[in-house]
Subunit: 128 residues, 2 copies
């Protein structure tokens, strides 16, 4: 798990952490049942506060991507167990994001085929 965090960027660290971990799970680099680094470990590695990492874990937990337990630590959830907790509105969120990316791509001169190829490539990176 390599976490690319931009400390000087505009995106909050705990959001970047959440995103990187979601991508890690999606790619299969983090398998279901696998343990995430402890908050103290990850905080130490990145040079951030433990609460910042904890906040990222809480977010991932609330979205159903991981489970956390005292002593056991944070564990990646099985994909099918991704409850309907945060499922409401997800579809709309996805469509909205894709609409924005499409508009930007269009205005920057990307052709339909190029855009769709990037979409295919991105999805192809995920899972086995």
């Amino acid at each position: 798990m390599i976490l690319k965090i931009d400390m000087s960027g505009e995106i909050p660290i705990y959001i970047q952490l959440r995103n990187e971990i979601v991508k890690g799970i999606g790619r299969g680099e983090l398998a279901p049942g696998e343990n995430l680094p402890t908050v103290r470990q990850l905080a130490s590695e990145l040079g951030v506060n433990t609460m910042t990492v904890s906040k990222a874990y809480q977010l991932l937990k609330s979205e159903g991507f991981i489970e956390t337990d005292r002593r056991k630590g944070a564990v990646v959830k099985p994909a099918q167990a991704m409850g309907e907790a945060a499922e409401a509105g997800y579809r709309e969120h996805l469509e909205d994001e894709l609409e924005l990316l499409s508009a930007e791509a269009k205005l920057r001169g990307l052709k339909r085929e190029d855009f769709l190829r990037l979409c295919e490539d991105a999805f192809a990176e995920m899972g086995v």
Copy 2:
């Protein structure tokens, strides 16, 4: 131009404004050369501060989507004139966003075909 702004949401208003206008231009609802509402007009309609709208316009201007001029107001730029101002890093930005969306989609059980169909549909909404 219908602008959906979520005042209680977590995304800053001026960012939402920027996104909605980009989508509007992408869809062709805002044609090149067309005037955007004045900052005072839009601010009044939405019930926000003029500087908030101005900030959105400045962002759009810095990205090359619009031009602003005193008295003339804000005008949508021709698509091809979208300079290479903010072009640097755009490709990486797009790929990064698509990677995140792909990971989330995968983990939520979306099949490749369904994801790609949503991508196609989103792009199809753009332009003529």
